[in-house]
């Protein structure tokens, strides 16, 4: 009797399971697969990671936003319908759009802008330096003149820099009333805003079940057009192969972070139901040498390394072609950019440079990188390239926390890493890479070059565009010859997307500086 019962139960279970089949994705729902490990918060004053930022952008409206016009980032009106700049360029006045509402129905007022910006400054979280350092803002710099006018007093940074920073996540406008209602222990709503939203953008954060999924739904009170996609499901799939398969099976519309091999497969073998979208990434990948460490003190050794690296192998084999050769600190399309790729693999020349520097038999060096699959592969290629000119290298994989700690203290000999662009202006790239006084990349690699620092500072202040561009060109040349960086490439980002998705190219153009889910439909 008992056995029969068990058997029946098993049978029932199997039948029941087989009937629970995956349904098709509804037309007004967008499902994306990603490793959501990097999501820490949706608070615009705190969030500073690449992928989460793109989502925060779609939840919060800013005074201005950046659109891509003819391949260049262009500030356009968002909550502010117009703005003006004082004679000396320091005081900005923004006039708010009439009738813009937060998701909870409250009208967006100048006092909300004042509160949001002051809050970001007072929180002092990761992105705060964009306000305090780049624009030189203090809490008093932001004033709500009346309900629809707000003034901002900056340190005189160029207009493009000011508008770019205001369009970044940190410039997201929060509903003061709602945030204050959820304050605990004077945290200015930080705990609550981690997984709730109080913005005026096209979407609201509905649910975040950690390590499972994140759900955005449309903001019915959004001032702009209602988006075609009403629900966005962001599914946590930590494994690249799972994301790829889910895409192929039609379980998801968009797969983030698939392997380069999978991306190449999508690109090369056209398959009816899935395609690949690519876009130049807003970051740069480099190898850096600590200019205060042993042989790297000699500029000839640094040049030897630059000539030893097989850039083409890294671009074509490691990245499967998903990268653009770019051997300067300016990203493609940025102010002052002009193609300049002087380095190609030349073993004889590299060996000669090494010999001239007094290292005919090479030396031993430690290459540090983090756990990313791609970086590890790049380190392996660099290791074998260096071996060809007699430099023996050991690869040390470090966790990000450990790597940055040592890097900040100039404690690494050689590193394979990348730099994500903070705001889309040439200054945001020249400073970290060439000016050691800002204590960023140049300083971390102990390249304390006063000439490069002076040129960077001059370019940052120059108002004459032609002159400014010329300074950048001279700086690039000087920096390529003397600097501690061997620039590997500018990555091409890619996403696997379902065929029935429309407008994805427009929505993700310029990702992640620009990302607009409202342009997507099915």
């Amino acid at each position: 009797m008992k056995k029969k019962g068990m058997g029946l139960a098993c049978l029932f279970l199997l039948v029941a399971i087989s009937f629970v089949a995956a349904g098709n994705i509804p037309k007004d729902t967008l499902v994306m697969a990603m490793n959501t490990e990097i999501f820490k918060t949706f608070d615009p004053g705190v969030c500073f990671e690449v992928e989460p930022s793109a989502f925060v952008k779609n939840i919060y409206a800013n005074l201005v936003t950046l659109n891509v016009v003819n391949g260049a980032f262009t500030p356009v009106a968002d909550l502010a319908e117009k703005w003006e700049q004082s004679q000396d360029g320091k005081v900005w006045t923004f006039y708010l759009r009439k009738g813009a509402k937060f998701a909870n129905g409250d009208t967006v007022k100048a006092s909300d802008v004042e509160y949001s910006y002051r809050r970001a400054i007072r929180l002092k979280k990761s992105p705060a330096w964009l306000f305090t350092d780049t624009l030189g803002l203090t809490e008093e710099s932001i004033k709500a003149v009346n309900d629809t006018t707000v003034t901002i007093t900056t340190n005189g940074a160029p207009a493009n820099v000011v508008l770019s920073v205001l369009a970044a996540n940190i410039g997201g406008v929060l509903c003061e009333k709602e945030v204050k209602a959820h304050e605990t222990n004077g945290d200015m709503g930080m705990a609550w805003l981690t997984d709730h939203s109080a913005g005026a953008g096209p979407y609201v954060l509905k649910e975040w079940k950690r390590k499972t999924q994140i759900v955005l739904t449309e903001n019915k009170n959004y001032y702009g057009n209602q988006p075609a996609i009403k629900t966005i499901l962001l599914r946590d799939m930590p494994e690249a192969s799972d994301r790829y398969l889910a895409l192929k099976k039609g379980d998801v519309d968009v797969a983030y972070q698939i392997t380069v091999e999978a991306a190449a497969e999508l690109r090369d073998k056209k398959d009816g139901s899935v395609s690949l979208f690519t876009n130049p990434g807003q970051s740069l990948e480099y190898v850096a040498m600590n200019a205060s460490w042993g042989p790297f003190k000699d500029v000839r050794v640094r040049q030897a390394v630059k000539y030893a690296i097989d850039y083409d192998a890294i671009i074509n084999k490691v990245r499967e072609g998903f990268a653009i050769k770019n051997q300067q600190f300016l990203a493609i399309g940025y102010f002052g950019y002009k193609e300049s790729n002087p380095f190609t693999r030349d073993v004889a020349k590299a060996k000669k440079l090494l010999a001239d520097a007094g290292y005919p038999n090479g030396f031993e060096v430690e290459i540090v990188t983090n756990e990313s699959e791609i970086r590890r592969a790049e380190a392996v290629v660099v290791q074998s390239n260096l071996a060809d000119i007699g430099i023996k290298s050991n690869i040390v994989i470090m966790q990000a926390a450990q790597m940055y700690d040592k890097y900040r203290n100039q404690g690494l000999q050689m590193i394979v890493a990348g730099w994500g662009i903070d705001y889309p202006d040439a200054d945001a790239l020249a400073k970290p890479f060439a000016d050691y006084t800002v204590k960023q990349l140049a300083w971390r690699n102990a390249w304390l070059d006063d000439k490069a620092a002076a040129m960077t500072a001059a370019a940052g202040k120059e108002i004459n565009e032609q002159k400014r561009a010329q300074i950048y060109r001279d700086l690039v040349k000087y920096w390529q010859d003397n600097g501690p960086f061997a620039m590997l490439y500018q990555p091409i980002d890619f996403w696997g997307i379902g065929k029935d998705l429309k407008g994805f190219d427009k929505a993700y153009e310029g990702y992640n500086v620009h990302c607009d889910f409202t342009l997507i439909s099915k």
């Binding site: 690249a240 192969s241 392997t259 490691v318 592969a377 290629v381 994989i397 450990q402």
Partner: protein, 305 residues
Amino acid sequence: MKKTPSAAGSTKETSLKKFLNERKPMLDDVKHSIYLWKKTPLALIGTVIIGLFLLVALFAPLLAPYDPIATDLSRKLEAPSAAHPFGLDQFGRDVLSRVIMGTRIEVQIIFIISIISIAIGLIVGIVAGYFGGIVDEILMRITDIFLAFPRLVLAMAFAAALRPTLANAIVAISLVEWTVYARLARAEAIKVRSQPYIEAIKAIGASDFKIMMFHVLPMSISPVIVQLTMRMGTIILTAASLGFLGLGAQPPLPEWGAIVSDGRSYLMNNWWITAFPGMAIAITVLGFNLLGDGIRDILDPRIRR
């Protein structure tokens, strides 16, 4: 010890004779055990596997057809073929060569962990059991603290804190493993301490150190070694798990768990990177477990009878 070398020598001699005499029945036991061994096919299979494993490790550089860390990106992810029976990984490295060279790393792991954990375990256990009282109480409470964690979790925490390298993973696992041997050694030490002849030796002036060294230690070693063979499989699994989680051996070291982890992103289309090193772990651990099982059976009085 150096002060009276002659005295020490004579104590050693007499104790050695005594040692052998006491163990006369044990030698017969060993013969009987070997007989039982031959009758236990699974233990025999285990012995053969471990023998092969050690041989492969010994001759690894001769057996590996290619350089285990030489990369060739133009041939990455090639499927298994006659030239590369286990295929190539995402860097174009020969998986078979990596698995073969990996045996050396596994042997190293087992060997060093055994030595460190047995050393700590014996010292703690013997001192605790021999002195008893407050010393015992303190040392055993410390042991309890280590036992309050699930083993892998504590090993992971140590490995991450020390920064993940093979050497640190070995230290981390040893720090977790020793408790097993400490408890065994303590039990033996308590047994020996209550023997009447120990009182006699004490009366003629032998120091605590000498008694522990020449009387307690020899008695404690055999149960510890037996236990060790039974735990070797677990040790390899723990090391491989750390490697898999990225908390153990780092690339390009061909540690088996780390290779499995390497292949994870390519599982769907390039299963061989994951499958073969995993099989190597499985077979080796199986060998140790069969061997340990055989030993357990042979020592089990119920089965001996």
